[in-house]
Amino acid sequence: MRQSREILRMTGIRKRFPGVTALDGVDFRMFPGEVHALMGENGAGKSTLIKVLTGVEGVDAGSVELAGATVAFGGPDQAQRAGISTVYQEVNLCPNLSVAENIFIGREPRRLGRIQWSWMRQRAAELLARLDLRLDVSAELGTQSIAVQQMVAIARALDVSARVLVLDEPTSSLDAKEVEQLMAVLRALRADGMAILFVSHFIDQVFAIADRMTVLRNGKLVGEYVTAEITPVRLVTKMIGKELAALDELEVSERSRADADRPVLVAADGLTRSSGIEPFSMTIRRGEVVGLAGLLGSGRTELARLLFGADHADGGTLDVDGQRVHLRSPRAAMRQHIGFCSENRKTEGLIAELTIRENIALAVQAGRGWTRPVSRRRQVELATRYIEALDIRPADPEAVVGTLSGGNQQKVLLARWLATEPRLLILDEPTRGIDIGAKAEIQRLVATLAEDGMAVLFISAELEEVLRLSHHVAVLRDRRVVAQLANDGLTLEEIMSTIADGGRP
């Protein structure tokens, strides 16, 4: 295809952090006019490689060559000036500044040292129009949705970048339409000769857009492959080194039929929250897994939060175990034995500086108040039990949670809620940003919990997951529950067309 000279070559990159070798002799190269995907589980070294490339971190050994010349970036601004531009997974913009300013800050158009605001606003509007986004560029960025903020971040990167565009999990907060827009933009840029580094967990997207892939595992290079010459199954094998049979087992395994005579645990009737979710009615039975399917922004998290008391309902009723309840706070929900694993594990889940033991014991302790402490011995007991059950690494209850990888952090959060022995466990995107191995473990866990009698409300952007695990699927669209489908041979197409149609007539 493009046998031009490499635009980027990283050789023998080695990087250590206290206690862990993040990268061990990794080679990586990029060609202009190509999309190159970087793949690997959590802890493989992808983020570190990007940080090294973009100048956020330095290297202990190895060299980086840009267009044939050796470079050593002292900081992100140097990398940017050299033509390497990055869009991160978390939107790294300033919410207090306007949309236009976020696109141009650091490079504002000036005349005689004075910023030209109207020119800037005009140009910003043009750039966003290219991404098919039309909004008031003077509005504060913080007032816009996450998806829009992500697009603004991409617009900024596009305007800044000259030669290399790095996208670190750019689609995790985008819905299908926005992902397509992004892909279209990337194809256009590729045709213009831009070298694009694309990191993503979504294997479909990678196969759709990437020309080349590099696989890392545990800090080492596994190999570089041309997309046309590798299949998804082989790719995943290279990433986790296990056979995929383990995942398939789950599909075939006997899922007990959704019994109508299983006792109802939670019944919501007309429950609603203004500008959150329209009135919905739903029943969840013991031992049942109810999946919520829908696009980004369809209201799944809002619905879940209402069931947990994390937000106040503006109308409707909720019954738990036959009793009318008013959940005014998470504590009230916990008293009803409901647990909630948030999708933002860093900001709403874990206390980073506390240990695994303390994080796991937290919900149990919070439920008892400060006057009835959970003894140290019991805390260690709890921690050890779940470390073993969920295979949390490192297996040390006194390890500080902030140092764990994403997958292990998710497991600790899960353990916290399992320790409260809930009757209903709400899981919001429990497998997001996690490697395949841990994903399979968590899915297996959900299935087991349901078999043991726990009710589970399961939210995931990956419809296959929802389909695989749920007895019932509630489909949401535009903040409304449009359909509730029993999983009797339900297919992906059916779910997607339900989302598209907005419900049966």
């Binding site: 956020v56 900081g75 992100p76 601004d77 990398a79 940017q80 000036r81 990055t86 991160y88 939107v91 790294n92 913009l93 300033c94 919410p95 207090n96 500044l97 300013e101 800050i105 650091g106 504002e108 000036r110 040292g113 004075r114 910023i115 504060e140 900024r156």
Partner: protein, 328 residues
């Protein structure tokens, strides 16, 4: 006519302008109250006197605004101002330096102190509260080292600055210090809204991590705002010397509180990223007008000032919270 009415109708204040407008409302309200109650209050000179009496606080508060916009805080401003006054007095009176050498010297001193604090804050990642606290002790300690008693200033330039009014016509006048202070405000406003550095200040206050990843010169900006604060404090000290014609090691004690109060009342949020220099000006005026009202009353003791300012702070802060909550 129709164009004007159209313009008036479509003016809806942006959410972020509300705090400043609130300060303006209080100012106008307080002035109105005073004018109604005390006949002498209504003269324009009363307002100008507020400027004259608080020119040095205004300069110091402008410097503090820069720091607070980045989400930091500077507790040393009062002490650095006092140090600048003491150093000037010492150089002028005891060592016979001329004014045109002394003033640049103390400005450089203030800027250097601010720069040092900024460097420690950024490169050693110590909290601004602590570092500027140490700076406050340091500066105040140096004041005492220079002299334990106050020094009178008799230098000609200083006395001229203190005693020459600038007539504005209609019997009104201001002092040269007011002009200097307003020039500082104008420069600060321009820098914050029309220069790359100023916008980086806002960016750092909004999200330092994002600013870093966007390739902005965060380190330089953070050090620069503390340098600016030091410079403004030193300039404030010079204006104080013009105003009192003396230097006192206990001078400007508590000025940092007044500066922060002025900034907060003026609508700048202490976590950074949002606020205007104009707001700080209004904040200083509000502080000044309260003092004036209490003086005019004559029956209230001066400590009522503290209580009223405290109450005002409460009202403004609660208002800011209300606005923030409603817009969510």
């Amino acid at each position: 006519m129709t164009a004007l009415s159209v313009r008036v109708r479509s003016y809806r204040p942006q959410r972020r302008h509300l705090p400043v407008l609130g300060a303006l409302a209080v100012l106008v309200g307080a002035y109105g109250f005073g004018a109604v109650r005390y006949p002498a209050f209504g003269s324009g000179q009363v307002v100008l006197d507020i400027f004259i009496d608080h020119a040095f606080l205004l300069v110091v508060a402008v410097g503090a605004t820069f720091v607070i916009l980045t989400g930091g805080i500077d507790l040393s401003v009062g002490s650095v101002a006092a140090l600048s006054t003491m150093a000037s007095a010492d150089l002028l009176q005891h060592r016979g330096w001329p004014a045109y050498a002394v003033i640049p010297m103390v400005l450089v001193l203030g800027a250097a102190l601010g720069c040092a604090m900024g460097l420690v804050i950024h490169h050693f990642e110590i909290q601004p509260f602590i570092v500027t606290l140490a700076g406050m002790f340091l500066a105040r300690g140096l004041c005492y080292t220079i002299s334990t008693e106050s020094i009178s200033i008799t230098d000609d330039t200083y006395t001229t600055m203190a005693q020459t009014p600038i007539p504005l016509g209609a019997g009104l006048h201001v002092s040269p210090s007011v002009v200097i202070a307003l020039v500082v405000v104008a420069i600060a406003g321009h820098v914050l809204h029309f220069t790359r550095f100023g916008r980086t200040v806002y960016a750092v206050g909004g999200s330092e991590r994002s600013a870093l990843l966007m390739g902005l010169t965060v380190a330089r900006t953070k050090v620069a705002v503390y340098t600016i604060s030091g410079l403004c404090s030193a300039l404030g000290g010079v204006l104080m010397a013009f105003y009192t014609l003396s230097a006192d090691p206990l001078g400007a004690v508590g000025m940092e509180l007044d500066a922060i109060a002025a900034v907060v009342i003026g609508g700048t949020i202490l976590t950074g990223g949002s606020g205007y220099v104009l707001g700080t000006v209004l904040g200083v005026l509000v502080l000044g007008i309260i003092q004036t009202l209490i003086t005019f009353d004559g029956t209230l003791s001066s400590w009522w000032t503290r209580i009223v300012i405290g109450a005002l702070l409460f009202v403004f802060i609660a208002l800011q919270r209300l606005i923030a909550r409603r817009s969510r």
